[in-house]
Symmetry: C2
Subunit: 286 residues, 2 copies
């Protein structure tokens, strides 16, 4: 790239929460854009995003902000994304690159594809697999995506050049880009994120408040994601219902196996099931 | 206490893993004993415990080591504790204080109580609710117990003076001592530790290896305890089988509630269940 020219002169980020704020910080610190316009509905959170160094400009008006952008990133909860994509597409200059950071991909890609013939922008859906239970621009971290996988999920008619252009963006902020179909993505994320969230929440919900003082690091770690935002997570879980249901059933089946070994007092079977779980966990590192 | 005299002149710690090593370090750094004898079956781990500052002396011979002690702490896996208590009791001077750090209490206290009339030592069972998935003297931490709860679980015939004497030890290393019956302890720990361990292991076991690169902080936190030692955990789970089974069923019921809301596409019900879990989790802090 030319040292004088940022690769994406103006990036608009719709939603300046933890993910949007981290994206903006990463773009600005890496000088990938001359301007990062944060778009939101709350003047207070936009002001905080500026103060945190997450965006250089702000706008409460989506259409005006994205009309200036060469790249638009939608970093809101998944339920809002299809409608926002329609509004964005109506306002961008033809050929503008658009991506998102939603945790589900099937319904978002399908909604875009239904009107593909009349679209002005070039949308390629994405999911940076990074994040935490923390929220808001105060939790923004320019290195959130470094070393993490971002999945891009083109539809059947997405031009390969668009996939390459969007992949360059996600690679430029430090992530490793992997291409999957939207359905593959949603099936895998049901197992690695959505169903574990439900089960972690179930552990927290099943623990009487009076027991809390008798918890240690195990309970604390296991339930940490249960602190995530209930509205955002409900939308993710509902948008990926059948895959999430199947993944919860798999976890239940695995713990039912261990429960059966406990009830049968079958020590060697129980050790073998726990050892297999430990192998899976150890393979990831701490 | 007299500034010239350590409260427990010689402490013997049976088992110098992460818990035993942390106990020894805490005792030595706080000058609660002149000598801490580490007792183990492996010369190599005893040598490492000395090198890590976890013990001042070592012994491969249990009877000789505990004969010198004014306080003996058994910090092995739960399955070994009842038999070790018999061996220790046969070798100590009459009136020697004895405690343990096992994660279950019913069977350990019952085994001691069955021979109470002929015991030489004064045993009060305990469980410091601290620890991690890490193992061995290399993971020893003198502050492991600071601010943590230690549950002491006297039997029906344990003299209150013995409970006080043992509670002083657990308080001296920084923990907050709470007295419960062995049955109360085991029921609560099934909910706060043993069942969550099984469910975390089930999440790890249910995740195909190929999915692992698509995990983030949520999966990583939720499954961390699945890296614990399978043999130690199998013994804990089998020793507390009925309570663990009931607690696993409660977690399954809570996640089945969420699953039902997902399947019924009942967003308000799902948000309310997730919000209740979040409240429980938030009450603990990060």
């Amino acid at each position: 790239m030319n040292a004088d020219t940022a690769p994406w002169p103006c990036v608009a980020i719709v939603g300046v929460g933890m993910i949007g704020g981290s994206l903006g910080k990463a773009v600005l610190q890496r000088r990938l854009a001359d301007r990062v316009i944060g778009v939101g509905r709350s003047a207070a959170s936009l002001a905080e995003a500026v103060q945190r160094g997450a965006v250089s400009d702000t706008s409460l008006d989506l259409a005006t902000a994205v009309a200036d952008a060469s790249l638009v990133v939608v970093a809101t909860g998944v339920a809002a994304i299809p409608t926002l994509l329609d509004s964005i597409d109506a306002a961008v200059r033809p050929g503008t690159l658009i991506t998102d950071a939603g945790s589900t991909k099937n319904s978002i890609v399908a909604a875009w594809e239904r009107s593909r013939d009349t679209r002005r922008g070039r949308f390629v859906a994405a999911h940076p697999i990074a994040g935490s239970h923390r929220r808001g621009p105060a939790a923004a971290d320019a290195d959130l995506f470094v070393g993490r996988v971002t999945v891009v999920t083109p539809g059947p008619h997405t031009p390969p050049t668009d996939v390459e252009a969007i992949s360059r963006f996600w690679a430029a902020i430090g992530s490793t880009v992997v291409t999957l179909s939207p359905a593959e993505h949603d099936t895998i994320l049901a197992r690695t994120s959505h169903a574990p969230h439900v089960v972690a929440a179930a552990i927290a919900a099943a623990t009487p408040a009076a027991d809390r003082r008798f918890t240690a690091g195990g309970w604390r770690d296991t339930t940490r994601i249960a602190a995530g935002d209930p509205d955002l997570w409900a939308d993710i879980l509902l948008d990926n219902g059948p895959a999430v249901a199947a993944a919860i059933e798999s976890i239940h089946a695995a713990s039912a196996d261990m429960l059966a070994a406990i009830t049968a007092r079958d020590r060697s079977r129980l050790v073998s099931l726990l050892a297999r779980a430990k192998e899976e966990r150890d393979a990831l590192g701490s």
